[in-house]
Symmetry: C2
């Protein structure tokens, strides 16, 4: 799975719409074609391109009547990150999941995972899950804020290191923020 | 600046190459055309599309001889994030920079910012900046790991909430990870 190919895939509105629909549930071609008002041939082409890029999978499902139907679904959860700026160009893809080692250096996260585990064990009440989701979203917002600063500092330091002198303009810009 | 438009822009290899070049320094059309081995007309088209999308800016620079030359540069630092998965579809864009409020809830980050500030004040030695950059990259790696888990949990909880029952398969999958 190449990140370049994934970006090519994401650069098309119809393909993004297909991905958005498939993220909710597996779908078959004629269904997608009808919802999106796009010809079946075009839908198949988009799906096969995304399958080739490793973003989408297809499985056959037995029907009560007639031939098995081909369902398309998202292949795996992923996060694609593109950073572009002055002295900054970086493209990354991450898969999602729980790496137990992470819990060691983030006590907040460990608390959240333990809570999730305990809610699941006790049967998973709607209210408890809803509350935990709010907590997670809150944590995500914080983390994104921290990331914005780290990426900013990283790009500024790379610039300074590239120049091998400390540019006055960077210092000025920095003090304007603080 | 629309995130949809930005994704359309990123979906083209030549445009990504242009952005990568501009991230290092401002460039003019014939220079880009030569480096990329792409016709000037095509380069101008790509640049103007990206200018229209708010990703690229143009300024005129006086030359010693002849007419002023039009330089293109990246308009501002940004982070684009695409999350796609089963029960997950989310596209976001963030600008980069320091929001002082963030420092309150991340002591690690506050330490890093203070260190950056003090290195700049003392003239910005190469070795010190290099060391700080390593620290920042390390912190970024940790944060990305935390994010991967949070996004995973968030998508799983959304799925459970959507179903309004706790699916056995999710519980099983979860315990396989822990």
């Amino acid at each position: 799975m190449s990140i370049e190919e994934i970006l090519n895939m994401l650069g098309n509105e119809t393909r993004r719409e297909i991905l958005s629909l498939l993220s909710r549930e597996p779908r078959y071609v004629s269904e997608l074609s009808q919802i999106l008002n796009v010809g079946q041939k075009a839908v198949i082409e988009h799906l096969e391109l995304m399958r080739h890029a490793g973003m989408v999978d297809a499985t056959y499902k037995k029907m009560e009547k007639g031939r098995p139907r081909k369902y398309y679904c998202i292949r795996k959860d992923m996060l694609i990150e593109v950073k572009i700026g002055q002295h900054l160009y970086d493209i990354n893809a991450f898969t999602l999941g729980i790496n137990p080692e992470v819990l060691e250096f983030s006590p907040n996260l460990e608390k959240i995972v333990k809570k999730f585990e305990s809610i699941l064990r006790s049967g998973g009440s709607f209210t408890e899950l809803r509350g935990l989701l709010d907590e997670i979203e809150n944590e995500k917002t914080k983390i994104n804020e921290v990331k914005r600063v780290l990426e900013y500092l990283s790009s500024r330091i790379r610039y300074l290191l590239g120049k091998e002198i400390v540019a006055e303009e960077i210092i000025e810009e920095f003090y304007r923020f603080i």
